[in-house]
Symmetry: C5
Subunit: 266 residues, 5 copies
């Protein structure tokens, strides 16, 4: 793993234009602010939902907090990797410190399972039904991230494709289990709750789908997908996907919990 890691460095983007740098910089800053303050908002609103939903809200807040922490690190790392040039308009040339994509995988390794935990928790299924879902979802999620990581470290087409495909298997399984589970959960719910759950489902699909697509970019090649432009596109895409999949998703979870709390105890 360590050797292939070193090899991957040759693929590092060697320079960003001043405008490209600013775009990534502002998007990372947006991600920090969105995630950090969604975490705070969820914590502060915990009491507004019935006790049985509070764990879902706390886990959502923790997910946003973990991500905000990692974005702080990514932001500092980005500044160190691409320092300012001699003038404001000069390109930002890669320093001797790599831009570490490892942070994102560390983040996903912790937050993807927790996102599944918060989703299952808000459905307020029986303890047994929740357990049945989680013992399938959580290991699949962990496996998906672990299998994707070695592929991310190399830019050679062969291994990148293989690890990508291997990682996609638990991904599809996970989506299947989740969608079946969510569909079952719709039974016996009020129309408003059904609409909100179905909403959740589409948001989840749309945002989670971004990650494997961004992973495939360097395989496509060409300046747009794999040069400096591709780097900007990937960082922007990941950041927006993270805001949607964690912050916006967390707020939707909270609203679903509130709707259900009100229905149960008007």
């Amino acid at each position: 793993m360590m050797l292939s890691y070193a090899t991957s460095q040759s693929g590092a983007i060697s320079s960003l234009s001043s405008g490209q740098y600013s775009t990534v910089y502002n998007v990372l800053s947006l991600a920090i602010a969105s995630l950090l303050f969604t975490a705070l908002y969820l914590l502060l609103s915990q009491r507004q939902v019935a006790p049985r939903y509070r764990n879902a809200i706390v886990v959502s807040a923790i997910v946003c907090g973990i991500a905000a922490y990692h974005y702080f690190r990514i932001f500092a790392n980005f500044q160190e990797s691409y320092p300012a040039g001699a003038t404001i308009d000069a390109a930002h040339v890669l320093s001797n410190v790599e831009f570490n994509e490892g942070y994102r995988y560390v983040d996903w390794f912790l937050t993807v399972p927790l996102l599944l935990v918060e989703t299952v928790a808000v459905l307020a299924l029986s303890r047994a039904a929740s357990q049945r879902l989680l013992v399938r979802l959580v290991p699949a999620a962990a496996l998906m991230i672990v299998l994707g990581y070695p592929g991310e470290l190399t830019l050679e087409t062969g291994p990148r494709v293989i690890w990508g495909v291997l990682s996609t298997l638990p991904f599809l399984y996970l989506l299947y289990v989740l969608f079946v589970g969510l569909t079952k959960a719709l039974e016996g719910k009020s129309p408003q709750v059904r609409a909100q759950i179905s909403n959740l489902r589409w948001i989840l699909l749309a945002s989670w789908g971004v990650y494997p697509i961004a992973y495939a970019f360097p395989l496509i090649g060409g300046d747009f997908f794999s040069g400096a432009g591709g780097f900007v596109l990937r960082q922007t895409g990941y950041s927006i996907a993270d805001i949607v999949a964690k912050a916006l998703f967390g707020i939707l979870i909270y609203r679903l919990a509130r709707t259900q709390s009100r229905e149960e105890d008007p």
Copy 2:
């Protein structure tokens, strides 16, 4: 977007006198302290209002918190962009790190919609009426910020005017919807509450109006509006407008919530 961004650099202020630097420095510091501690005050006072108003208070606190966070960044960025000269009285000459106005737009993108959310929340309308207002106000606000950003990045008159005008359209729509909404909300309220809501309305108009005016400064030209003096004027104007539109406004929201809480449950 990235190209026009780089172009904009030519418009960066190349030097501030020591006194100009200190003025901006002290104003930014005032903004940090005002926003940070208003956020804390609102959080600590949340329990003093009836439960139905708590979301308005929490959102107001979050708005001030997000802004305080961005002012910390702006402050650090300002120090890096205009480092001290060789002596205390020497001019502060622009370094190789631009002063990034992007932070303000990231901030507005998050806080302007939230300011509308907190305003609607404190009126305690029916859920349906709130929804009707927000589905109009929030997208208009987001659109206004997004359309204004490209104009901010250029100093050429043409595009700056065009984007400015485009951004003004949702701004006017938003003001119209908000004022109609606030006027309707006055119905059936006590005189004291009516006075406070009308107060809110004028504060909002006065502070929000500052932003498009400051945006237009560089169009006017002349040393006063677009040189170093104009820079100081714009930063001071933005900062004071932010303190009024977020911190002072948040405290007024809190007082309105308290008045209503007392009236409903004396």
Copy 3:
């Protein structure tokens, strides 16, 4: 304003002995610790007083928090302005970064009105009586600070005296209103409460009086009042006055609130 500001630099102290530096350093550190932990203590003790007094305690905590924040800044600024010499015993010579007295004025601009708010709040007067006091006290306090600032920025005798006198007018008015108000508030209170309020009054007078006196130092001239020794004296004086006027005063406010809470609901 900016011009006179630059002029003031000529009055900056150009060097501190190692011992003078250590004295200011330790006093600033004492101020940080006192203010920060008094803020925490007040927050943590909020529940020990009756609900009607909680706002007074929260505002006292906010005042100490704002001041602690500014002392952190002042401390860092002090270290940057007077860096260590070549050896431990060498003088600390002024660097190219001025020691910014502006922080103190930003602080006072926020905390002096709030100190009046907390004082009025703890008296638990009728809402109308409180309002009557505050609409006089708060603008007078703001005016006093704003009028004193330009005088602080110059070392020329003429303007320093004029602004000083102008600032003293609202100061005297404010003291008059406050003392009449506090005297009226004594009516109908228990002996213990009367003693505590009268205590508050003297502490306030003694600590607030330090500020205009320190302001007048450079007018007196001589090595003791306006050289490096005068600088140490002024920083020490301001810091101790701040600890008394905010931290000690906040604790007395808290004790008064407790006494009254106990008397009302034994």
Copy 4:
């Protein structure tokens, strides 16, 4: 002690490949995020268990917090000890700042006794029975750490073995007392609680066992165990063991407390 300490420096790893550096870096970052957010999660969930179990949860949170704090220090120390080379792919050569293993011992000295406290607390034994266990476990734990430290500071086989053996004596005693205690605690519990306690027991054994094994690595010698590769292995092993023994263990403690709370007051 100080002399043998200096001697130990000769054993410091003089260089890490870029990939080795990244691996340790990412693992330390994973440890920070896991421990910090488990601490927060436990604090936020404290109210979900019956009052008699809250001390166990608070202590678990404190343990994770202490460890997170130390990992922040270790992380910063690691970056200072092995700075980036001239290029991204270059080796990270040891600077003049040693990588201080002392942090881990300081951490263990505080957290190992506390882990025993939280374990005993969650069993909700009689006060007397708890006391009887703790007066044996806590001193044994402290002794184990104190005796292991001098051995860690030397790479000479002789003293390393001797101190290691001396430290193992209280370790075995501690495990014995704990297992007897846990076995007794199983009496009269429901099957679900019994399963969870037995689970705890195995997790504890598996994770605590890692530490003496890693301690023995340098005794084995060879590139795999004592060179740069061994360093990576040891840091990774310690970090994962810490995540399991503190974060995962804390969550299991929390779940056990919840199960028992529910059984006692359904």
Copy 5:
């Protein structure tokens, strides 16, 4: 005062061996972690004691918090004063930044009176009896610290002895008042409470006694007490005494409060 302060510099330790540096470094780190997390633990446990004891717990937490804050400062100061040499094993030679013992005195000036406040508070005497004790103890404590400080700043035997003796007078008075007070407080308490109070008394005596002894070290002279070894010994002694007198003492206060809470409301 300032002159004698500068003079004291000649007594600064000019170099520490690498091992000596590490020992002080690890002990300071232990102090930070112990004090910071004891503060958090006490805050989080506040609700576990009856309301009348909460002030004692809050004050104990504040004491540990203030001390943790000062240890952060001392730690940073230590790193700046004794930077790493050219190699890991090289001596750490004193830089141009002195190691400021002033922090400890600032700390004691705040925490010693508060330790007395928390001790009296936990006894839950009548308000009058508490007042009687505190008006004697607090001024004596402040006087003791203030009189000891000038002696600490000089290494000349004469003044060091004189100030030391002067400072010892209030120290003895304070101990006398406290012991008489604690002995009286034993009356009418249960055996368990009596044992705990008597425990407190011995811990206090043992830890407070360390400070004057460490103060006397340089008077003894010789390499062991006043050279680099003496420096290590003094820093270690102070740190351990602080952990015992604040963190351990705070936990004993908490346990005493719990015991009494349980006895009063079983």
